[in-house]
């Protein structure tokens, strides 16, 4: 049966190839979209986890971290708890990037600004990511990612204007696994706080809990600390850094819905393309199908034949689609380095792509299979 199906598909090479291409484009689009969306999420988590903190604390009621406010007095109290070793405060903002120093134009859409304090673990640990220079010591110094420095033509010790009319000396360059940090600069938290009109409150705080103390594991200590923070300060949310994106799942749901919508569109386009191919194939083989029915093939066997053709067609398209999805994502990432896109290829993404291909094959072949099975052999055999 499979060789029969295979040879039927090979007989109409161009039509089969076009259908395969259509299905593979649909599947590739889905794989690329999901992989890059996961990449964006993982990049956010990488930022949160990068400092090695046990917990992150932010306002639990805000939809965007930019509006979060954790007060200094709250952090002072938390820092005094026995289970807490250290607290690092951070501001976070996005600005329009300044013009490159060479007078040209940059492709950068935005510049992330991170405000941190010298002496706090979050920044001190960052020293290991420096590729040149050192951490900032003064309020008029910054460190910048290598990507930003390249895009804006900055070099070590250059005087640059991150905000109009306010010059900073670039004293260090860093590389980070987090896309956010790759697209940003770090400066003294007070300087950024002043720009944001914030005084004694921060977007986010990183809490470093004690490690295992014999009676409790590190996880138990951080869980107890998180519970204590939320009990004492109900407006705050304290979670493990790796749980950040999942705690914003309502906000990220729109991305999931967008992906679902694109998937449905891809599915419909794929189904229509393959449906057309299958209908033409059934139409051209009317006499052949009549002959099969005359030879004793039941309606069920004719349905099986046509469905199998649709599924094989889409399995090939799906396999190419998964490959093209991977290559397409990498191509996109390479083509837009300034966007710092990251793709995360989860096995579940490829499974989803495979399911879409299978569904396209099955759905697209259903009606042609039904139509073929309904052909009356006596009529089909007379078909010219």
């Amino acid at each position: 049966m499979l060789s029969y199906v295979w040879r039927n598909l090979l007989t109409r090479k161009i039509r089969t190839a076009l259908s395969v291409l259509g299905v593979s484009a649909s599947v590739a689009g889905i794989v690329a979209l999901i992989s890059i969306a996961y990449g964006m999420r993982s990049s956010i988590d990488a930022y949160m986890e990068g400092g090695g903190a046990s917990l992150i604390v932010y306002s639990g009621h805000v939809a965007d971290l930019i509006f979060s406010s954790v007060k200094q007095e709250e952090l002072d109290a938390i820092a005094a708890w026995d289970d807490v070793e250290d607290v690092s405060r951070s501001h976070f903002f996005m600005v329009k990037p300044p013009a490159p120093l060479d007078g040209g134009e940059s492709d950068l859409a935005m510049l992330f600004c991170f405000g941190r304090y010298r002496g706090e673990r979050m920044l001190e640990q960052f020293a290991t990511r420096l590729t040149e220079g050192g951490l900032f010591r003064n309020k008029n110094e910054i460190i910048a990612s290598v990507s930003i420095a390249d895009a804006l033509g900055w070099k070590l010790n250059d005087e640059v204007e991150v905000f109009p009319g306010q010059a900073f000396k670039v004293v260090g360059l860093y590389e980070s696994p987090s896309n956010w940090e790759q697209l940003g600069v770090m400066m003294d938290a007070d300087v950024l706080g002043e720009k944001l009109g914030r005084r004694d409150n921060y977007n986010i705080a990183f809490i470093y809990c004690k490690t295992a103390d014999g009676a409790r594991s590190a996880d138990e200590i951080s869980a107890a600390t998180a519970a204590a923070i939320q009990e004492k300060y109900p407006h705050l949310k304290a979670i493990k850094p790796g749980e950040f994106t999942s705690s914003f799942k309502e906000q990220l749901a729109i991305m999931d819905e967008f992906i679902a919508m694109i998937t449905v569109i891809a599915l419909v386009v794929g189904v229509l393309g393959v449906l057309n191919t299958m209908m033409m194939s059934v139409h051209e083989r009317t006499r052949e199908i009549g002959m099969l029915r005359a030879l004793g093939w039941s309606r069920g066997w004719v349905i099986k034949l046509i469905l199998l053709e649709g599924v094989v067609l889409c399995a090939i398209g799906g396999a190419f689609g998964l490959l093209f999805g991977y290559l397409g994502s990498e191509l996109l990432i390479a083509a837009y380095p300034q966007a710092h896109l990251v793709a995360v290829y989860l096995p579940s993404t490829f499974v989803k792509g495979g399911i879409v291909a299978f569904a396209v094959g099955l759905l697209a072949a259903l009606y042609p299979a039904y139509a073929a099975s309904n052909l009356r052999p006596v009529v089909a055999l007379r078909y010219e």
């Binding site: 040879r7 006499r287 099969l292 030879l295 004793g296 009356r376 052999p377």
Partner: protein, 222 residues
């Protein structure tokens, strides 16, 4: 005494809401192993008779029974076609993308026979029709006579009790046609199948057990 293989009782087949009468009150019995020739002018109802006998169509009234199974619906027709009937068409109706052996195996696919056994039966039949060496050739590369021999092998692969042949030599030259008819007779004798041959060529009716003539949808013996 065993029942007749084919029983038509008062069979009438009409088209266009009864305005066109293709068969009109046919009563017919065909015994197992019998060779029955059916002739008649164009439009006399030969093809309609064959379609009813081949379980490809249902009578408008009357009953058609094949191998003790009355044809009443699509399911009974499918079962009879699968188990009782072998078809040889005027056009060989082979699947062009398949080899000779694969074409012969087509009626066996719904029977879920192991592939090796299916292949062995195909090769045995190809041997019988003298095309063993062409088993794996695409049928597009075969001559008209060879294709019809493959079609005969395909019709006989499940050793049907009833072999229906509709102008099987209609597209062949006389020498090839004679050879094809000899092959059909040889194979049906070997399997004990009854043969119903519909033809315009009265020479092919030689040696038949019964010769039926259809005129305006009614049968007469010749």
């Amino acid at each position: 005494m065993s029942s007749p293989l084919v029983v038509f009782e008062g069979v009438r087949r009409t088209f266009e809401q009864g305005r066109v009468v293709a068969l009109d009150g046919i009563d017919l019995h065909i015994e197992a192993g019998e060779f029955v020739a059916v002739t008649g002018p164009s439009g006399s109802g030969k093809s309609t008779l064959l379609n009813l006998m081949g379980a490809m169509d249902l009578a408008s009234s009357g009953t058609v029974t094949i191998a003790e199974q009355r044809l009443t619906d699509r399911r009974s027709m499918e079962t009879v076609r699968r188990d009782q009937i072998g078809f040889v068409f005027q056009m060989h109706n082979l699947v062009p993308v398949l080899t000779a052996a694969e074409n012969i195996a087509l009626p066996m696919l719904p029977r879920r026979l192991p592939a090796a056994e299916r292949r062995a039966r195909c090769l045995s039949l190809l041997e019988q029709v003298g095309l063993r060496e062409r088993a794996d050739s695409n049928v597009r590369g075969l001559s008209g006579g060879e294709r019809q021999r493959v079609a005969i092998a395909r019709a006989m692969i499940h050793e049907p009790p009833l072999l229906l042949a509709d102008e099987p030599t209609g597209n062949l030259d006389s020498k090839t046609g004679t050879a094809v008819m000899e092959l059909i007779h040889a194979m049906r004798r070997r399997s004990g199948s009854a043969l119903v041959l519909v033809t315009h060529n009265e020479e092919l009716c030689a040696g038949c057990d019964r010769w039926l003539h259809l005129v305006d949808g009614r049968l007469s013996n010749r």
